[in-house]
Point group: C2
């Protein structure tokens, strides 16, 4: 086999410029630190100042009940100024494992718990600007075990959606959070590739 | 049919609080305006200050050649401090149509052009924090028509990847930008539902 370019791990094409003398913290809040950081291209030697928002990594949870329903939450999001239908999730505490954090967030936001979490993968919601990676985990046999105890600033509505309706909810734009869409579609394709667990027609689109 | 909760359009559960007297612009740059904005829950009356980064909407382009190869770009991203393999894209100029912007970005970044763009959908990379929606468009019969002319701060490597290798690149984490993953998987599922255009085995996973 001939190695192809996309298969070769490579060093970053830009690296931090020198001693950081040109880097600045623009604003610091309880949630993130917004910085301007200078990098230098290893190919051209050119320098450029990038904006970088440093914030904690996150986790999203695909929780599925024994009746093949996915546990979703609907909550207000200030970016689009409307409510979004999403998989439950949140930010990792310092040093926290994504699987532990996901089980914690699922319980807090929905009152559901289930089997030990399986890690699906980590995605970058906005790598041009945010240091944040979001890991998607899967928790099967989820069942309601407690009252939800969301954060004081969170007001969440829990909604159960049959697995087979997920593609249509994405296709119609009712689920449109990129990390949630990417996580759910990755999971459906993986499940679809194992016919004993999920029939292939789950991944077909209604158009 | 009984209307279900997830099918009902609904007003936002939180709305701007009063006259905006508590809203503050924390920092303003050429790229975005970072604000703290106060919203009030319509259900509980509770108020909360949300961080909101106002920036332009964006577009990503799934450009496919006549030989069924997808035109990708590899470039440095300051969030993860490494290079990312992505669909070409960028920010919309004020008032610009996403299809026009996508064709422009594709030409600038890769030198490719093709058929009139088809709009796939709009996703929110981080609705908790960013006002930005990113539209994914599809441009078929893409072919190289010019030299790339990227922005001064962009250094891009163009890579052609056969369509059938996309799922494995996502599965292995080599493509891990959430908007790119969500766009490519949505497109593959749509194509997979029309067997005359793409065989179903394109969406199976290698595991």
């Amino acid at each position: 086999m001939t190695p192809r370019d996309v298969d070769r791990p490579s060093d970053p094409s830009w690296i931090s410029d020198g001693d950081g003398a040109h880097d600045r913290t623009l604003v610091e809040t309880w949630l993130f630190q917004l910085r301007r950081e200078r990098f230098r291209s290893r190919a051209s030697g050119k320098v450029h100042d990038f904006f970088v928002a440093h914030l904690a990594d996150g986790v999203h949870v695909i929780a599925v009940t024994g009746e093949q329903q996915v546990v979703l939450v609907r909550q207000f999001r200030a970016g689009p100024r409307r409510d979004c239908l999403e998989t439950p999730g949140g930010l990792l505490e310092p040093g926290e494992d994504p699987c532990a954090a996901g089980a914690r967030e699922l319980l807090e936001e929905t009152g559901y718990a289930g089997d030990p979490a399986e890690r699906l993968g980590t995605l970058w919601p906005n790598p041009a600007l945010l240091t944040m990676g979001i890991t998607t985990i899967v928790i099967k046999n989820a069942r309601r075990v407690a009252e939800p105890r969301p954060d004081p600033s969170e007001e969440l509505a829990v909604e159960l959606v049959p697995v087979q309706e997920i593609p249509a909810l994405i296709q119609s734009g009712r689920i449109d959070h990129a990390v949630v869409v990417a996580g759910l579609l990755s999971w459906l394709m993986l499940e679809g590739a194992r016919p004993s667990q999920a029939p292939r027609d789950r991944v077909s689109w209604n158009r």
